[in-house]
């Protein structure tokens, strides 16, 4: 096509500038809602720019104009063909009481799978320590867990000095960040088709099972419950939810029984795994505080029965929250699926260039 470039540029540039202005406003979120006229005008400007791009694509002398138009058309295309529901910035409370528990329940099978792997690990760790107590160093590579449970309990109960004095806050921060890192890794390893996630969950289960059996065999069940329950009832479910997120990712990668493409499957779950991992981080903040400020204190400072009761109340509230929260609103207004099966109409491909 032979065109008079100077005239073409002079005629079309005002329309491109107008389109760019609209796009800038949309980017800056200054256009909350467009009127029908504005939408029609926006669509017209997009189609005009797209048509201009088609005209100028083969025109050698204006590579800058072509790039500019490509960028403009690309931005407008993203705005016009974006079909994912635009949610208002969810208030934190709304997200916490509705989105997170609803997301958790929507993928409950992955959570059960995560629990099953951890329980298998617990059973393995428990049986191993029961049959071969000498394997303790291999199963629990933490020095403070290697000593005899009865001896440790005696030391802790007769301690005259608070070993965490002046360090509780920093200890709490260490616990929060370390556990959150492990949780993110558990999620991220879902990209190994779930193998890494399963290994981490199983290993976590081995440690929990081994510690539990070690203390029960030593007759320190009450100490064990008082020590682990206050933070464990939050921390362990948090790791299980991180495992759930990792398994959701793995299942999307594998795609059993789904006839949609890998990209579509990953799009479906991307928002959900982010929701879950943010929820896990919140739970671990709470667990970190409790572990530093309560779990490390034993009788006679804090009665075991009080700590166990506190842990059970937490567990009940957590179950109530994950199982029931957000159900009422769901009955009224069904929550939008994570990413409604959106497939833009265009076709894409990637091709190597010289």
């Amino acid at each position: 096509m032979i065109i008079d470039l100077q005239r073409f540029l002079a005629t079309e540039r005002p329309a491109w500038t107008e389109l760019e202005r609209v796009l800038d406003k949309l980017d800056a979120q200054r256009l909350k809602q467009m009127s029908l006229e504005e939408l029609e005008r926006f669509h017209l400007l997009y189609e005009r720019a797209a048509s201009d791009l088609a005209k100028i694509t083969t025109f050698a002398s204006e590579p800058d104009t072509r790039r500019y138009l490509e960028s403009l058309v690309g931005r407008a295309y993203a705005e016009i063909h974006e079909t994912r529901q635009r949610r208002p910035q969810a208030a934190l409370l709304g997200w916490f009481f509705q989105t997170l528990p609803q997301t958790f329940r929507r993928h409950i099978r992955a959570f059960y799978f995560s629990v099953a792997i951890t329980l298998a690990g617990c059973a393995f760790g428990g049986f191993t320590i029961a049959l071969d107590p000498a394997s303790k160093p291999a199963l629990m590579p933490f020095p403070h867990l290697l000593q005899d449970p009865a001896k440790r309990v005696a030391e802790e109960e007769h301690a005259t000095k608070d070993i965490l004095s002046g360090q509780k806050t920093s200890f709490s921060a260490q616990l929060m960040t370390h556990n959150t890192r492990i949780s993110i890794l558990t999620l991220a390893l879902g990209m190994t088709w779930g193998i890494g996630t399963i290994i981490l969950l199983f290993y976590n289960g081995i440690m929990v099972g081994a510690i539990a059996v070690d203390y029960v065999r030593a007759g320190q069940t009450k100490f064990l419950l008082g020590w682990l329950l206050p933070h464990g009832v939050i921390e362990i479910p948090a790791i299980l939810i991180a495992g759930q997120a990792g398994l959701i990712l793995a299942l999307a990668l594998i795609g059993w029984g789904k006839r949609i493409s890998l990209r579509a499957r990953l799009r479906e779950i991307s928002r959900d795994i982010v929701t879950l991992i943010f929820g896990v981080a919140l739970l671990l903040v709470w667990a970190g505080v409790i572990e530093a400020f309560l779990s490390q204190y034993h009788e006679p400072v804090v009665p075991y029965s009080a700590k166990i009761a506190f842990g059970l109340v937490e567990l009940f509230l957590l179950c109530l929250y994950l199982g029931m929260s957000g159900r009422q609103s769901r009955a009224g207004v069904p929550p939008a699926p994570s990413d409604p099966g959106r497939q833009p109409k265009g076709r894409r491909d990637a091709c190597p260039t010289l």
């Binding site: 791009l53 058309v73 994912r84």
Partner: protein
């Protein structure tokens, strides 16, 4: 270095392409981001060092939390605030975009950044780099999971041809219809090669310079055949000058 373009075909039948960033450029951008993170942590270390005089416990806790938030949240915060860019990406003119040309969403940014934990295994993004190298869209694992790509938009500097071409008679301009056909048939890449050859002509040794312009002239002569009086007797280099003049300067 691996480079590729992502072509998006819109329902209107328009195709636009985006240059994909290769693993090496991305690694360099990440190295710069790492320096930014280190600088921020160093500044915080000094700040919390002063705070330690008031409470060592609180200062230490704040540093641990800040370290975690900055190291994990830097990419998320920057890419969300700057629409897919971090400091390193800005300097290397890279941008994270949706793999299908759609609007980048927060959960995509969060996913690709959280999955850095697996991409960075065992050290220095080895796994992510390998995956990126072999991926047709130069995606690391985080990009695959989040459905994102990293594109680059290099600054295109128009050669300053005015000084090079000004005041010279151009015989090709005597045939405006053929000049227009030449502009239509020559691709932007071909035009850029001819312009670069002219701009850098003094850097070539005499014989390679003659060969280069002979090849270019022969290539452009095949594109559009001008009458003999317009092209005969002109040196190859002058012929290329005329071609570039026609392509880049639409007004004589």
């Amino acid at each position: 270095m691996k480079t590729a373009t992502l072509r998006v075909h819109t329902p209107e039948g328009i195709v636009f392409s985006q240059l994909l960033a290769g693993p090496v450029t991305r690694f360099l951008a990440w190295s710069l981001d790492l320096l930014c993170i280190i600088a921020m942590l160093t500044a915080l270390g000094i700040l919390f060092g002063l705070l330690q005089m008031l409470s060592a416990n609180i200062a230490s806790a704040l540093y641990i939390l800040s370290y975690f938030i900055i190291s994990v949240g830097y990419g998320i915060a920057c890419e969300w605030a700057w629409r897919g860019q971090t400091v390193g990406k800005r300097l290397f003119r890279l941008r994270v975009v949706d793999a299908e040309g759609l609007k980048l969403q927060f959960h995509q940014i969060a996913t690709r950044n959280l999955l850095r934990f697996v991409d960075s295994l065992p050290i220095f993004y080895f796994l992510g780099g390998i995956v990126c190298w072999f991926s047709s869209r130069c995606q690391r694992l985080g990009d695959i999971a989040a459905n994102t790509i990293v594109i680059r938009h290099p600054r295109i500097a128009q050669p300053d041809l005015d000084q090079l071409l000004a005041g010279k008679f151009n015989s090709l301009r005597l045939y405006p219809h053929l000049a227009a056909r030449l502009r239509q048939r020559v691709s932007p890449a071909e035009a850029a090669v001819a312009a670069q050859a002219l701009v850098r002509r003094e850097q070539f040794d005499p014989i390679p310079r003659l060969d280069l312009f002979a090849n270019l002239a022969s290539h452009f002569r095949e594109k559009v055949e001008f009458p003999a009086e317009a092209s005969d007797g002109i040196a190859d280099e002058q012929y290329i000058r005329n071609v570039v003049d026609v392509l880049y300067r639409t007004k004589s």
